[in-house]
């Protein structure tokens, strides 16, 4: 997963999440992020990779699913 380490880093630095709690199967809600925090997180990730993920695709619950979605668009962009 290309984007997973970056997402983990934002969670630690910006949202002060305990690094121990960050696992691919952890849900963003379990990590304590509300809807605004999740939207901001995805904004930062899209900005970092220069992506434009449509709102209709923003459906994920776990960190692993979020990273997989981002990776899919990184790949699309690269191809």
């Amino acid at each position: 997963m290309t984007s997973y380490p970056y997402i983990a880093q934002v969670l630690i630095k910006k949202y002060d999440i305990d690094p121990e709690a960050i696992r691919p199967e952890a849900t963003l809600t379990d990590l304590g992020l509300d809807s605004l925090s999740i939207a901001e997180l995805m904004f930062d990730v899209e900005d970092n990779y220069d992506l434009d993920i449509p709102d209709s695709r923003m459906e994920f619950t776990t960190l692993g699913e979020a990273a997989a979605l981002v990776d899919e668009y990184i790949k699309l962009k690269g191809g």
């Binding site: 910006k14 949202y15 002060d16 999440i17 605004l36 904004f43 900005d47």
Partner: protein, 413 residues
């Protein structure tokens, strides 16, 4: 039949100010005539301006959770830190909670102005419509009040007053009335402002009201009532009072610092930026009448006096009209000469200074008043603070662009 009026006490004070975060220390520095105005670079080295300003130091560590910072503009962080200090000083902070039913009455001129500048910069420079999802919650004017209410679980009304330079005086006045008239037992009331970013500074420069640097240096540049006054110096910060009903204060054995006894508000209904004495006179008279006081009771006025040519003269005229013969016996000083103009927090920091003047029975000076304007010929406490052993009541003026005037009166306990 009118409902019984309850007494309202100030039982806590909190600051993030150009003179630091401790009210007692801030008062001593202001009493000593220390101006903290300096010259800073606004914008970038290539595109910007050297401006006079009174900046405040912000350290939210341990008060604002790190994970909240991304959704809080500088102004909201100022407000929460000042709220924390005010609640702590009132001994009302328990387990990160304030009084459950307390209200938040906050003045703010511009809202999250750093966030709005950052967002517009992205929009125009990167030519993109893709802006952060947090922009709106960062810039909305009531964000600072909302953060205080959320942070300290205070579930009374959370209100924001945007009345330019009179914002926080109006907020304190409205909270005072809500408590006095029985709607509320406790409120955090005051103001916050943080707009020393280059976009806002450029806008103020455009208005032509900012002071020019004085020959004696930046610290000497805010010169209310002086013949050579040239305008005001922007400041930033937050100032909050804990206001409580007499009953609530006694019940919890809180310590009243001073009593709030009067509030008056009136509008010029005249001009957006040009002040006139008439609205100011009516606001002072309304406050005196609200307090049930004769003019002779007032010993000290903390003037609005921003050091513009027109404004200071209008205020002196207004004091003469409102107080008659007594205008020549009371003392008037302008502490903006030292802490600058905090706009949405100006009325609150100045009312805190007024209450501390009552408490200490010492009058802060008007700094830099070496050559008074002959038209500002009242006792303006030039350059040097002095004791006022008989001081019982003091008044603080706040007059806004838009012609909104707010006047607060405090009583020594």
């Amino acid at each position: 039949m009118a409902a019984a009026r309850r007494r309202v006490f100030a039982t806590g004070m909190g600051l993030v100010s150009p003179h630091g975060g401790d009210p007692a220390e801030m008062f001593e520095r202001v009493y000593a005539g220390e101006s903290v105005i300096r010259k800073i670079r606004s914008g970038t080295p290539e595109f910007g301006s050297d401006v006079l300003a009174a900046t405040a130091e912000l350290d939210p560590t341990g008060i604002v959770p790190k994970a909240q910072l991304f959704v809080m503009d500088r102004v909201a962080q100022f407000a929460v830190v000042a709220a924390h200090r005010a609640l702590t000083s009132a001994r009302l902070l328990a387990d990160n909670r304030g009084p459950a039913g307390a209200g938040v009455y906050l003045g703010c001129g511009l809202g999250g102005s750093h966030a709005i500048q950052d967002a517009y910069r992205v929009y125009y420079e990167r030519h993109t419509r893709k802006l952060k999802p947090t922009v709106v919650p960062l810039i909305m004017a009531n964000a600072a009040a909302a953060h205080i209410s959320m942070r300290y679980a205070m579930r009374g009304p959370s209100l924001t007053y945007a009345i330019a330079c009179a914002s926080s005086a109006m907020a304190i006045g409205e909270a005072f009335r809500a408590i006095r008239d029985g709607y509320l037992e406790c409120a955090l009331a005051g103001g916050a402002e943080a707009m020393l970013n280059d976009g806002s500074v450029a806008a103020w420069e455009g208005l032509g009201v900012l002071a020019k640097e004085h020959a004696d240096g930046p610290a000497a540049s805010s010169r209310p009532f002086a013949r050579d006054r040239s305008g005001f110096v922007l400041g930033e910060g937050a100032a909050l009072l804990v206001l409580e009903s007499e009953e609530a204060t006694r019940q919890r054995r809180g310590e009243p610092l001073a009593e709030i006894v009067g509030f008056g508000a009136a509008s010029d209904a005249y001009n957006l930026t040009q002040p006139v004495a008439d609205g100011q006179v009516r606001a002072m008279r309304a406050a005196l009448s609200d307090a049930g006081l004769a003019t002779e009771a007032i010993g000290y006025i903390n003037a609005h006096a921003t050091a513009t040519q027109a404004g200071d003269k209008a205020e002196i005229d207004a004091i003469k009209t409102a107080f008659g013969e007594h205008a020549w016996r009371l003392a008037v000083s302008a502490t903006k000469s030292m802490h600058g103009h905090l706009v949405g927090a100006a009325g609150a920091i100045e009312f805190i200074i007024t209450l501390l003047a009552l408490r200490n029975r010492r009058l802060p000076p008007t700094a830099n008043l070496t050559a008074p304007d002959p038209e500002c010929d009242l006792d303006c406490v030039p350059c040097k603070g002095r004791p006022a052993p008989k001081l019982e009541y003091a008044l603080s003026n706040s007059f806004a662009f838009g012609g909104s005037n707010a006047v607060l009166i405090g009583r020594r306990l």
